[in-house]
Symmetry: C2
Amino acid sequence: MKLYDAGRAPNPRRVRIFLAEKGISVPLVPVDLAKLEHKTPDFAAVNPLQESPALELDDGTVITESIAICRYFEELHPEPPLFGVGALERAEVEMWQRRLEFHLFGTVRAVFRHLHPAMAEMEVPQVPAWGEANKPRVAAFLGVLDRHLADREFVCGNRFTVADITGLVSLDFMKPAKLSVPEELDNVRRWHAALAARPSAKA
Amino acid sequence: MKLYDAGRAPNPRRVRIFLAEKGISVPLVPVDLAKLEHKTPDFAAVNPLQESPALELDDGTVITESIAICRYFEELHPEPPLFGVGALERAEVEMWQRRLEFHLFGTVRAVFRHLHPAMAEMEVPQVPAWGEANKPRVAAFLGVLDRHLADREFVCGNRFTVADITGLVSLDFMKPAKLSVPEELDNVRRWHAALAARPSAKA
């Protein structure tokens, strides 16, 4: 088994944090996104959609999509549970994972990829108006999130889950996107600090 | 239990198809998106993100996000399994559900929402250049999908799954987005026809 990784990019980091929380070690194969290594024919043979991360099993089967890779490890190593326990909790983890992915990760990503000059080769065409349109969406979602976190340690209550991982990488992704969490959102700031202080955050 | 629905919109339809495949009946509460009912304070009390569908349980708990609602029912009614069986199959269903969601549903949605005049009130601001930028992405993904389907009945092999549901609603969503599947993509066309012929497709 080997995991095609990609340094500081947020999606591979989600998987590394997940594995660190599970205490699982998987050999990493670096893919240099800055050199567009994911666009090479060699990597297209691994993932025709040319995205990292990708998990290659010993029989050659490839699983892509960060959350699909995490779910594979959750099935193989259920402890500690990071996708919830029981029908309702699993649905809530899925709900918050998706809310954070679409309304925070996706919006921050749009700001970064469509407005950052370093992304001109990666995001073709850059559409600056689309980047700008996402800035108020980031802010609006952070407001909803702050109210939600007022009486919760983690986004799904008392249990750290994969939804928190998506939250952490999204908040950290705001820095290269030149966005910041408004000062008054105390609950988001407290949550971000707690996630960033976990040993897994360094993965 | 009641399900906030929204007529022809693709996300509520995903849940209705899923329930039909499971043989589950849930009372529907219509939400008229054309009248922006999802933007009212009443609906914001159900879902602060103001999106449909939303499942309200008898104790008032609300689950939003189409795939989270589907997963809740999968946990309660495991047969027939629509999220896969076993670690690898579950990871593959998650992978294809996400690939279809990001690379087909999401790209078709961007074309529709940013280029269709009827969306001017719903998608603020419309960014036509972003709609145009997604057209070649739809085409590129359909090419990858066609090659994948060459030797498979469904997107994850012999078993119909929630990933096929996302595929069906995405392909049907192409019509209002004024997109069409290229003639030469025989495998996508055969798959689309087979999914559309299932009784659940009318849900």
